[in-house]
Symmetry: C2
């Protein structure tokens, strides 16, 4: 186990925090609940952004930018939305500070009170739909497919780095359509983009499904989500996509003239993923030695550590390493040589393991003589000696293999931890073990709430894969008839 990292079995929550902080991903800031994303963590987020952004754009989405601050009155327009969002948020009431008349420092200038308070956006449906009103007049103006990458704030009481912070970074897509079907298709298209991103790039298996009405986004008619299972058996919602119906169009009076010239309210979707994905990535693959990064998202895919005693050895090894680095970079890999001369190799090995770098190459005078290098893979911690002339090919294969292997490992864990419960006693017993439970539910909010009160489990989703879940049965809690199993779990 790496120095200073709590073991997962000892305290999973502390393990998570240790990795986030010690692998230099993020740290608490002096501002309550707000984090600093450190360069190494931000480089992973940039990789995620780059890939997702390309995936969005290939579906026709364009980026734009809308204001950070939203007039308070906008939140009252959509009745459910205000209940869900406008309560715990940062409120701007003044626009000026002044020198403190009673001493050094500054105080709020009481004469600079705003006529209407402004809210730091917790999500942007309201400001965007107030803007869309000016953009949409006729059916020719539709669809509008906009996304923005930005920061948002929700005044969370209990915060955890990446998983739940007052300020976080995200993308929010907001689309406008002529028909309900198009908006529903868009919401489904984007949740599938999220699922593909999670599986292919994060190597993280996810279940795609609908939220129960209770768990829907405030103002949505349907919320789709991707749900992943973490190693402690808790579920994590990793992305959501909403069919908003005409709720926001009606609240902001956004209508279009159809081909017959009749005015119709516009249909909407919105969808988002956030820096929460960083937390999911840590928990999906990390081990007691630290982070394990999928090669597709690793800022450094290969790290090289020279082993030497004398200056001559140092020079000879470094020279060979630079040649190897060049050939690996030419093959499209990101490579770093760790030539810090104040640290011992063993210390460096542990540090790069902690940081989850997929492949490590060590090389010393004996390797030089033999024409080999020692190649170590982060996921299995296995080492092998590879002839230098075959190194580039071996590293490429190994990176591919790591990407697939950590997915397979996470999938195996997930599949071993999806179980069926057919009675209430069984359910209560299984939920203590963690994992997803497939169980029948009578479809009512009352039952859902009672199950949560008694077990802390919520309906994570109603999977869209009907082959898996559609069957007749009886609600585990009330015994009333049910037509499909839904997925329960305790969650982040």
């Amino acid at each position: 186990m790496a120095k200073d990292i709590t073991g997962r079995s000892e305290n999973y929550s502390q393990w998570y925090n240790d990795i986030v902080v010690k692998a230099d991903l993020a740290e608490q800031s002096p501002v309550r609940g707000c984090m600093v994303i450190k360069p190494y963590g931000y480089a992973i987020w940039e990789k995620m952004q780059g890939i997702l952004d390309g995936m969005f754009k290939r579906t026709g989405v364009k980026n734009a930018y809308f204001p950070l601050l939203i007039p308070k009155s906008f939140f009252s327009r959509e009745a459910e939305h205000v209940e869900g969002f406008a309560k715990e948020c940062a409120v701007v009431t003044h626009h000026r500070l002044m020198s403190d008349p009673d001493g050094p420092g500054v105080v709020v200038d009481p004469s600079a009170r705003l006529e209407e308070e402004l809210i730091v956006r917790p999500t942007s449906e309201t400001i965007i739909w107030s803007t869309y009103k000016n953009w949409i007049h006729s059916w020719r103006d539709l669809p509008i497919l906009c996304n923005q990458w930005c920061n948002v704030m929700r005044w969370e009481m209990r915060t955890r780095l990446f998983l739940r912070t007052a300020e976080f970074l995200w993308q929010e897509g907001h689309t406008a359509h002529a028909t309900a079907q198009e908006a529903q298709d868009e919401a489904m298209r984007m949740v599938q983009v999220y699922a593909e991103f999670a599986r292919k790039y994060m190597s993280m298996p996810v279940v795609v499904g609908h939220k129960s009405p209770n768990e829907r986004f405030a103002g949505a008619l349907d919320t789709l989500c991707i749900e992943a299972l973490m190693q402690d058996g808790k579920a994590l919602q990793a992305g959501t996509s909403h069919f908003l119906g005409q709720n926001f169009a009606k609240s902001f009076d956004v209508q279009y003239a159809d081909k017959e010239g009749n005015l119709q309210y516009v249909w909407a979707s919105s969808w988002g993923v956030s820096t929460r994905l960083m937390g999911a990535l840590v928990m999906a693959h990390g081990d007691d030695n630290g982070l394990v990064l999928p090669p597709a998202l690793a800022p450094i895919q290969v790290v090289m550590v020279p082993i030497y005693k004398t200056d001559d050895e140092h020079g000879a090894v470094l020279s060979e390493m630079h040649a190897l680095k060049k050939s690996l970079e030419d093959a499209g890999h990101s490579v770093e040589i760790d030539d810090r001369d104040t640290l011992r190799p063993g210390f460096k090995f542990a540090e790069w393991e902690l940081k989850g770098v997929p492949v490590r190459i060590a090389m010393g005078p004996r390797d030089l003589e033999n024409g080999t290098a020692e190649v170590h893979r982060r996921d299995t911690l296995e080492k092998e000696s590879v002839p230098v002339e075959r190194l580039a090919g071996r590293v490429a294969d190994m990176l591919d293999d790591i990407q697939k292997n950590i997915y397979a490992k996470a999938l195996k864990f997930r599949d071993e931890n999806i179980v069926k419960a057919d009675t209430w006693d069984e359910f209560k017993e299984l939920i203590e073990k963690g994992g997803f439970i497939q169980a029948h539910w009578d479809g009512t909010a009352e039952t859902e709430v009672k199950i949560q009160e008694e077990t802390k489990a919520t309906i994570r989703c109603i999977p869209i894969d009907s082959a898996v879940c559609e069957e007749e049965g009886k609600c585990i809690y009330t015994g009333k008839p049910s037509h499909r199993r839904v997925l329960f779990a305790r969650s982040y």
Copy 2:
């Protein structure tokens, strides 16, 4: 002149606003002083970001993210900084809204008042240096070269889209060094990055220089800047880079142990460019037909407009266009076919001219017969008929040529509008004509202020190109001795 666009000579300011709004770059939002950046405008900003980000990274800079909200007390730590920044800003005082007890809607919950107010960042030196305190202990931790792309707010009274808005997007680099020289070198390196970006990608000539002490960033020992000349003869500051000395290190107690183990305060630089560059781009090249984009920053480099009467003609032209589009895309150009069937070609031509697309290709049945296409370039508005088999090569040359030509044109204009003034009367006469004036100044803040009061001209910079400006002379205002000319202008 394009429909609905005010001519430059008629009203330059209105011309600017017309282009920004009608070319779909940005618009006012319902929030005072805050803009919506529309997809077409944002696509240009994304191109700027991508290029600048690569340039920063090649110098060793890494991206990170620091909190949006800054505790009020942080602004009092650096005495000059608070004077410069903490006054006109958005102040968060509460963290909750509640349902209005007297009716529908929401009101601020008086019980949710923050113990200490938080300021929406106008710039991040304070929060970043409070963080660097934890990152820096020894000389081994230096240098730190961080940048963040983010939004900032300054409560401006008079706002103009892109040029001066309450909220704007920018990047801010913040570096920490062991020596003054390294920090000064970094500030100089980054202002040169800005200058290269402006010249090479924006096709915009700039003068690099130092600000006079009066115009320095609040808390800086030296501010470097790039200054560009707009078509109305006013200067525009397009980027700044500051040598901050040890001011922030002392305010936030950031010290490092040097190799001898002695504690030393850290030296700092910071540097930034913002969405203001979008305004510079519009004003540097735009004409009475609209925007003129340099190909390097154009989201669409080539637009194709089919000309046809019958469905058969339409099909034949489109099929040829798709083949041409593919060959141009394979050559690395971004191409769009405007196949909207409800608009006439003339309307489309005007619209793409307004949007500044560098090259337009029109093709009709006669072109098909002749094996040619009509190619139009936005900068000169010239048309030529090009054989289809030579089209890809011709378009590539033309894009190169446009990039160079608009730079040459802007440079010619700038050079024609840099003049020398040797007497006060001459100065007062020349400043009315606009442009940069090279004049001697006695080096005092009093004189600078008086010149500004009498003429509205400020010292834009003291150019670093000593060959141009170093000479003995007498201050145009006081007659006192001076060793170099400085650059005066009225400015944005």
